[in-house]
Symmetry: D3
Subunit: 215 residues, 6 copies
Amino acid sequence: MAKRTAASKNGTAAKRSAKAQPRLAAAADDDPVIALDLGPAKLSPAMQAYFQKCQDKLGFVPNVLVAYAFDAAKLEAFATMYNDLMLAPSGLSKLEREMIAVGVSSQNRCYYCLTAHGQAVRQYAGNPLLGEHMVMNYRAARLDLRQRAMLDFAVKLTAEPWAVEEADRARLREAGFSDRDIWDIAAVVGFFNMSNRVASATDMRPNVVYHGLSR
Amino acid sequence: MAKRTAASKNGTAAKRSAKAQPRLAAAADDDPVIALDLGPAKLSPAMQAYFQKCQDKLGFVPNVLVAYAFDAAKLEAFATMYNDLMLAPSGLSKLEREMIAVGVSSQNRCYYCLTAHGQAVRQYAGNPLLGEHMVMNYRAARLDLRQRAMLDFAVKLTAEPWAVEEADRARLREAGFSDRDIWDIAAVVGFFNMSNRVASATDMRPNVVYHGLSR
Amino acid sequence: MAKRTAASKNGTAAKRSAKAQPRLAAAADDDPVIALDLGPAKLSPAMQAYFQKCQDKLGFVPNVLVAYAFDAAKLEAFATMYNDLMLAPSGLSKLEREMIAVGVSSQNRCYYCLTAHGQAVRQYAGNPLLGEHMVMNYRAARLDLRQRAMLDFAVKLTAEPWAVEEADRARLREAGFSDRDIWDIAAVVGFFNMSNRVASATDMRPNVVYHGLSR
Amino acid sequence: MAKRTAASKNGTAAKRSAKAQPRLAAAADDDPVIALDLGPAKLSPAMQAYFQKCQDKLGFVPNVLVAYAFDAAKLEAFATMYNDLMLAPSGLSKLEREMIAVGVSSQNRCYYCLTAHGQAVRQYAGNPLLGEHMVMNYRAARLDLRQRAMLDFAVKLTAEPWAVEEADRARLREAGFSDRDIWDIAAVVGFFNMSNRVASATDMRPNVVYHGLSR
Amino acid sequence: MAKRTAASKNGTAAKRSAKAQPRLAAAADDDPVIALDLGPAKLSPAMQAYFQKCQDKLGFVPNVLVAYAFDAAKLEAFATMYNDLMLAPSGLSKLEREMIAVGVSSQNRCYYCLTAHGQAVRQYAGNPLLGEHMVMNYRAARLDLRQRAMLDFAVKLTAEPWAVEEADRARLREAGFSDRDIWDIAAVVGFFNMSNRVASATDMRPNVVYHGLSR
Amino acid sequence: MAKRTAASKNGTAAKRSAKAQPRLAAAADDDPVIALDLGPAKLSPAMQAYFQKCQDKLGFVPNVLVAYAFDAAKLEAFATMYNDLMLAPSGLSKLEREMIAVGVSSQNRCYYCLTAHGQAVRQYAGNPLLGEHMVMNYRAARLDLRQRAMLDFAVKLTAEPWAVEEADRARLREAGFSDRDIWDIAAVVGFFNMSNRVASATDMRPNVVYHGLSR
């Protein structure tokens, strides 16, 4: 089976030759970014600005954006939904949304999302252990009732969505969540069930830098 | 537990009183549209036009849009991603994308998506049985190798995303799919794994009219 | 692998040649009735009368009977047990027995039984939606406590029979079922766990006509 | 919760008082025979003769018959189907049919059927170990290819009937089974998936004597 | 695939030739003891004495010890841990520890451990039926609350260890177990989850004699 | 529910009062070490030396040893078996044994073992990413065929030990493993299936220091 090159790390760069580069142990972990060979599209000005902002703020462009950059419309749709869900005002804190992201991704054993969002939990929590708990088994974290109920709902909705019913919503309300909060929990759970599958289907690789951050 | 009113069927209507309306057998199946009480937002002109287009073309606004209409940004992000995935040019036909939608939703036993997209398969295929096969057990359909490989991948990616690997992508390539097609399959699988969970978490109800269409 | 002819649709007809008939899209969905090549037996007078009664009353002979007609004793044993279970006096209504049939068949994803008995639920209920609920996810139906308890028991007994215990029977008694009713629930659940497997093992195909009835 | 008396061990006997009898360790294991209180029906002459034949030949009436004896029609339907399946001429030996019975019952962890049919395997095989293999894990038995293929099919059809397809039938044909044999395998698998569930739902208890026979 | 000889039944014997011995039905069930070809080590004096004690007391050396005898250090580590767990003073009776052993082994369907420890339950209980209950489905045994709680914990810890939490320990405490007892339950559950896997991985065969003992 | 003190971090220290110490975020993650209240035993001279060696070499005593220190015989049995398995000569490198440990612990979602042995993989591999791969999804690591076969076997033996058979051993032999290597793989898989359950049953907490090491 021919080795496939794939989305390059630089949205505007020419296609790399996988053969020309020896596989480097750690450095190569996210090269190629995905196991599909999709040429990069031309970024829209909005997306160019967004990539630049990532570069300036984080020091790198998250590989999921690099992966989606083969198609301008798909990249923009993904980024818009992501930013609304994870960053817009909500009854859930940004940390809580990242905790859901990692709890869901742990259930689905998604290497990309566990790495990227595990780092986000470590950072937002100011506590590297919380990230590890979410990655390994959220039940090992000593959470308050609210966050425990939130994650129990998230993991049940991930593992057996057909069995989620009014009693499950009632448990969230008893834990203090509003109906709008319940929507937001469901939407984040849904989003990562989507992203986990796009990442697994394409062998999407997280930027190597994530592993060492916020330890 | 107090009965909850929820997203109304008309994006601009006032909140209905659930108490004032006796539950009608079939007519009430999608009332309320979701089991969360979220007031409707003001639709943007673009979304007003979109709802009007649905009304004109289908004779109704799909309830998933009614459900998302409590928040203009979320509605727009959802509709944009949906329309790109399901309607934009792709190596997958629209029917194939709907077949994936229903195969995934069957694995997740999602009442909303099975109903709405089961109807779409019946319609696109010009064959009501194909919709029933997808709803009940896609293995019962007598598919060609391409579509069977596509659905096997879709259901595996839904049921055990952690186990999808190069060999699975290789099987798709052998069945004639390009790398771009593989992305599109993965993206549709992902999207319905998201939608199934938002629908199950909120008890989203499909428009009653779907059940009788394209039989 | 050679294509196999199988139980013919007419208990007394000669074996069709699968090669001589081009596969027609919808029309061919139940041809052959099963994927095993079993010559028809001579029907007993009782079974001839039964087939005639089906023809007169339904307009067709259900394919499950056609499938069993290769052996007179097996056909008679099946029909006798079926008619006792589904039609004899019981504390369960005929509709309730059909609801169990479909709930079990949905858990087992049995194309034959979902189609044939889904139609029966639509008909007995005078409500096409109830059939769809049973096929797709019985938890989506807005059932009273009695019928919900009945279906919860039926699906648990289907999915993990080893875990059914006194507490499960107690829940049925609390929902108003007598010990005799509990037997009848168990017997219908058992019967469809049998039929689902015979149907799946033989690729038994439901009469095409079912799909359009009682919509 | 009131203790319930149930099907008595003697089809014509009056209802025993559970309170009047101290629970005896081993002796009491099948008393009551089921956990439902169903008065015995009057046996038909045919069934009286059948019970007598069991008594004469085995020295006892199998408890499953005692359990069904509350209703003459159900008892007769059950016995007729059972005797045809397990004793009538077939390409499968009686031992093979019993091996399937136990393999299925092991998957479903059914105490009644493992005990009664485990004994039958020990007896027919003239080898107590084969019964233990079937009860504990059929993969531990050193079977020839034919019987291994038969049991692999039986257990797959039990555990995930939705996934059984032409390739599974092809494997049976390659192992030497005719289409009629495949029907018989499916029918025995189906029957014990039924019986396992009736037994589990009612806490049916095997005659104590089985445990010590054919060791 | 070449047939492999393996651990011999006599720790000091020369390697048997599998080809030279015709396979005997029952007699051959534990020959070879494991499906790996590992030459025996020289037993330490302590282990020689231990094997002799087994021979004197039981009339045979349990095959698990024969299997481990290829390496003196591993044999001694295994025997030391086993004897401490199963025989040293504990709030759990020896019978209770054997009940856990069989309940765990039933969940894992381990032929070796079900056979050897099923016999131990039959013997310690002075009741052959209790052994059969543990092998087939511990829920079929009519246990007191203490032993039922113990086995529920054991089987949950076996099947989904990630989900065991404070509430599970609390249930054991309510059933009368001390914290030390909980440790002992966990340790026996753990040990047999280890042994089940070593046995399954190597096709370890129980001494044939077990099957007939304590019936 | 009363808060329980438990195994202290110092084998000879008096029991801490959980109430007297406010819960500190990260610092408290391994306090108490387990959720059972078991007083420490007096360490044997051999174990005192072992603890001292840990302290000198690692800078801390692994909490699993602290947990077992309530009973001298159990501690010694555990340490002896552990050291033989993980450190004695074997065809498997120490890194490979640690990779199995983490792959198994990931399947079982064991917080203690993922943390402690994830660190060991990072250290032995000289590559922090390999530890993350093992923790998150071993299929994401780009392994050679030998190590991939080893982990596939380890995870299958963990998840469904009843299904491991000669074909699985054959795959290991084809990947270059000797029969002795297969034993060692099985033994390490078994050991961590034991340890994972003891850790989960007792809420065993890894030393906080592990999280930051070898990043």
